[in-house]
């Protein structure tokens, strides 16, 4: 049975933990709103972009001269996995769920006899993957200095990826990130970005749109747009990830705050009980002392 003093120190330590988690939750809530706004602002661009790219791809896709970014290298031996995670922890299962999705994909690709290369974005994913798959790392992007994700950040990742693709380092690139659904649900998602893939639904939309004239040529535009498409997709993945991270942190910290509260209640009851026991003991001692006289 812990002494009264021990209980008192524990209560005050849990109380200060609760203060910290509460503060982190509030910060995460504020950041979440900003991240959500950013993601929403970026949506019109990527939607338009994908619609145009989709319709272009549909019309050029079949031709043998189609750019490699669209048609692929003709092989799928080397896979590049871009694993996007957070720079910081304390956000529940956010990082590990993305890493888990990546691990499953790596195991599957390896079983099929493919070569896997990993590019990590964000420190946490790198840490978690390094023990098992450290030898597969080909690069790392550090975003810890970045306060607000800008298009330029996505562009530099895309540029790196495209350079590697041009040098024939890989055939297929997939990005792993968490899609933001609600504050309590973030879905780890794998999305293939090279060669570009378009949803069937977008293809249908393209069929209904008017027949466009292209200036300069169709293929010149496509060659110009595809690299941008990669940046755009990476950008929206980064934004989704940022929102998901804050959402996950918010609910994790909310849980932690609640647990700390419960713990404080329990400890306080224990503290009061043992205080009463101590008083009762003292009384018994006094009374039996008095009776003995």
């Amino acid at each position: 049975m812990p002494s009264l003093k021990d209980l008192k120190t524990r209560i005050s330590s849990v109380k200060s933990t609760r203060k910290i988690t509460k503060a982190m939750q509030m910060v995460a809530a504020a950041k979440l709103r900003r991240a959500q706004d950013a993601a929403e602002m970026a949506r019109p661009y990527s939607e338009r972009f994908n619609a145009v790219l989709g319709s272009l791809a549909a019309s050029v896709g079949g031709s043998p001269t189609a750019p490699k970014l669209l048609s692929g290298t003709g092989k799928d031996d080397v896979h590049m996995l871009v694993v996007m995670t957070a720079e910081r922890g304390l956000c529940g299962g956010f990082n590990s769920s993305i890493v888990k999705a990546a691990r499953t994909a790596i195991a599957k690709l390896k079983a099929e006899g493919k070569t896997v290369k990993i590019l990590t974005v964000g420190k946490k994913g790198r840490e978690q993957l390094s023990r098992e798959h450290g030898s597969l790392f080909v690069g790392h992007v550090d975003l810890s200095e970045v306060k607000k994700i800008g298009y330029a950040d996505a562009q530099s990742i895309a540029k790196d990826l495209l350079n590697r693709f041009d040098e024939g380092e890989f055939d297929v690139a997939t990005i792993f990130y968490a899609k933001f659904e609600t504050v309590i649900s973030q879905v780890p998602t794998a999305q293939q970005i090279i060669p570009a893939q378009f949803d069937a639904a977008e293809g249908d939309d393209a069929g209904a749109s008017p027949l466009y004239e292209y200036e300069p040529g169709e293929e010149a535009i496509l060659a110009d747009l595809l690299p941008r498409g990669v940046s755009t997709q990476i950008f929206s993945a980064l934004l989704e990830n940022a929102a998901s991270e804050q959402g996950a942190r918010m609910s994790a910290m909310d849980n932690a705050t609640r647990n700390a509260g419960e713990m404080i209640d329990k400890l306080t009851i224990e503290y009061n009980r043992s205080r009463q026991a101590v008083i009762t003991n003292e009384l018994i001692e006094i009374i039996s002392g008095a009776e003995a006289l």
Binding site: A42, R48, E215
Partner: protein, 144 residues
Amino acid sequence: MADTMQFDLVSPERSLLSTQAKTVSIPGTDGDMTAGPGHAAVITTLRPGILKVETETGTEEFVVTGGFAEIGTTMSVLAERAVPYADMTQETYEDLVREAQAYYKKVVEETENEPGPVDDAAKLLQDMVAVGGHIGLDPKQPNF
């Protein structure tokens, strides 16, 4: 025919303008063009230049650094970066020119003077400098 059409100017980070426009002038890669309602459906890439939107209440101008435009029943410009004319200061402009110049240098080094990419980069830089001439800002890069 309607007098106006829906016009959207969006950049990757945010939507800059969404309005009913009478005409829109865009700096296409193959030349400037002005589109009004009922224009033929065109998709064109953009070079750095001035984008001018004429609405019923006045004109608005933006400096765009590239991207593409989609003209159909509605018109949208997806700009790599767009800065409202009024926000365009000497400083911002110099940044843009410097960026274009750095890109040009890099391309020259990397591709060892292959005509294609170097010409493209040179044109980008030239266009950027021309933008400055148009809006009365000094590129401060006389010897490029």
